[in-house]
Symmetry: C2
Subunit: 343 residues, 2 copies
């Protein structure tokens, strides 16, 4: 198996990427194609021993950074002769020279590059960006979290199909429960988009549990929560911001008196546990579903540990043929939605 790792993704790149490539190659026995500036990567790779042999450097002198946005970003993603690490890496997947692409870089950049260079899978209306939310006793797949700010009911329906396949195939959830994010649990609640999507999900083969609110999502009552990319993005970023506000305030309060400092020091294991629960590093990466190739996007704060987890998720998707399973699910959805003739 050959997995591409963008060497220029994480905030501290390329150190964590080089380390993760070496470690993943040794641990999984896969070949890791590390894409980035040749000289820099070579120097760093030479400091590792024999295990680095399974890491192949693919030269890409340029990079898409967190500062890239708008038209400039679109051009970097689109140009056929682009030499940035995302474009070069995703082209390897497109040409079949590798099975998956992993990056901890600019999410919008990875999305745009994948859209332009891979295109969507046959029958897929819109690709969707997923995230794995930490919830009570586990995780919940939420999609779309930013690829499509404006959605139609059919898109949301396909997100539910693709999310179900992902949860089943890669996260090993049996008969995953699908919730539709809304402003109330009862059927009939929602904006127009949700009201129009509800019957599509209800009449489907999916394990649809109905509308869900924050309580059900974070309470772990759904395995997949479907939403448009605007609402999903706000949900994701607000949840992160609330978590930060609480943990920051708690830290401040803990440091404010001698007594709470002592108590906090003694109770440290509890804080470590909560930090781990909220840590995006544990999740590794989440896929962009619906593009014609496996693309996984991790958090910018990823370290080598997070990147190895990301590679592990990607290789699981390859091994279990996520692409084929999604193609089958979309095809059978299209078949069942075909005009049924007079009844």
């Amino acid at each position: 198996m050959r997995i591409v790792l963008d060497a220029m993704g994480s905030d501290d790149c390329p150190e964590p990427e080089v380390q993760a490539a070496v470690q993943a190659a040794a641990q999984f026995g896969d070949e890791i194609l590390l894409v980035g500036p040749e000289d820099q990567l070579l120097t760093r790779l030479q400091s590792f021993d024999g295990s680095a042999r399974r890491v192949q450097i693919i030269p890409a002198p340029e990079a898409i950074t967190m500062q890239d946005k708008g038209l400039a970003l679109a051009l970097k993603a689109k140009r056929p002769q682009a030499r940035n690490s995302m474009a070069v890496g995703i082209d390897l997947v497109k040409r079949g020279e590798a099975q998956a692409f992993v990056t901890a870089g600019n999410t919008g950049g990875a999305m745009a590059t994948a859209f332009y260079r891979l295109g969507t899978m046959p029958g897929v209306e819109r690709p969707a960006l997923t995230a794995l939310f930490p919830v009570k006793d586990g995780y919940c797949v939420v999609l779309d979290i930013g690829a499509n700010p404006d959605c139609k009911p059919e898109y949301l329906y396909q997100f539910a199909v693709m999310g179900s396949v992902y949860a089943e195939k890669v996260l090993s959830v049996r008969n995953p429960r699908v919730g539709l994010l809304s402003n109330g649990e009862e059927p009939g609640k929602g904006n127009q988009l949700i009201k129009d999507t509800f019957p599509l999900l209800q009449s489907s083969q999916l394990n649809f549990i109905g509308n869900v609110e924050g309580k059900e999502l974070f309470g772990g009552e759904a395995d997949i929560v479907v939403t448009d990319g605007f609402t999903g993005n706000i949900l994701l970023k607000s949840s992160e911001a609330v978590a930060k506000l609480i943990t920051d305030t708690l830290r401040e309060e803990m440091m404010s008196t001698f007594r709470t400092k002592i108590g906090g020091a003694i109770a440290r294991p509890a804080f470590t546990a909560i930090r781990r629960k909220l840590d995006p590093r544990e999740v590794g990466a989440a896929p962009l579903l619906g593009v014609a190739g496996l693309v996984f996007i991790g958090h910018g704060r990823s370290d080598a540990y997070a990147l190895v987890s990301a590679i592990q998720v990607a290789r699981q998707a390859v091994e279990r043929d996520l692409m084929g399973a999604i193609a089958d699910a979309i095809a059978s959805q299209l078949k069942s939605a075909a005009p049924a003739g007079p009844r």
Copy 2:
């Protein structure tokens, strides 16, 4: 001043309401009109001494409960002869016999009752439900958090106008900063609604600071955040759910070993501080803006303390003529938006 308090609102009603009515009457010197089942209220009121004299019981044998929804709720809210405490209480405001209505009951019920019985203020397209979010170093007014799942740019613009007046008049914020909730800070980010609303806010007299995300909202960078009622409701409920997940997990971790139990006990003041920060009781109640009368809705978990805070917010709105200020702001907005003739 005469303030109406719904005696049948909070989860533990009517005990907290009776207590709050007596306390508020004594503390503020206002007359409190307590609406609910006469006998029950009278018995409870008699246990208080002379300070109960400023509390007047207004009989209402029925109540809108948390179970009421849909058509049944609409009928309870609308019927001219309705005898539930919300309808009776809001009618007092409509007839000018009181200046504001306060409830800790069913939000949808209070909203529907206010819509049907009071109607909207002249020039207001849609009333909006506000909430006060705890953020870094203070609070942020968010609206709409549920009245209008589907919005137009003009609605959001008016929410910004009404929210600004509220923050300035009642919360005493000078030149309040208005943010537009979006999936990215840069202008041009957002779904179609946000893209169409942005120029309206930018060309207005408001102190518009641009698009905001969760980071800016919870970081305290805006005094008012404007959004549609669908997104706002999901934001509110998800934030509450994330906070609950974190505090529950932390409590569990703290109780899991002897060491963390001890540490947690010593550090208790820090936990008390964070609980207070997240406690909706501190906020009292938030207004339904744009209806033709002052209506304040508090959290169902409100106790007497929370209800007194709610009454205090309501009386501040009366004293500072919130209604008049909103009417002026809407009128001047309509004037400036009027066709300017040939230029």
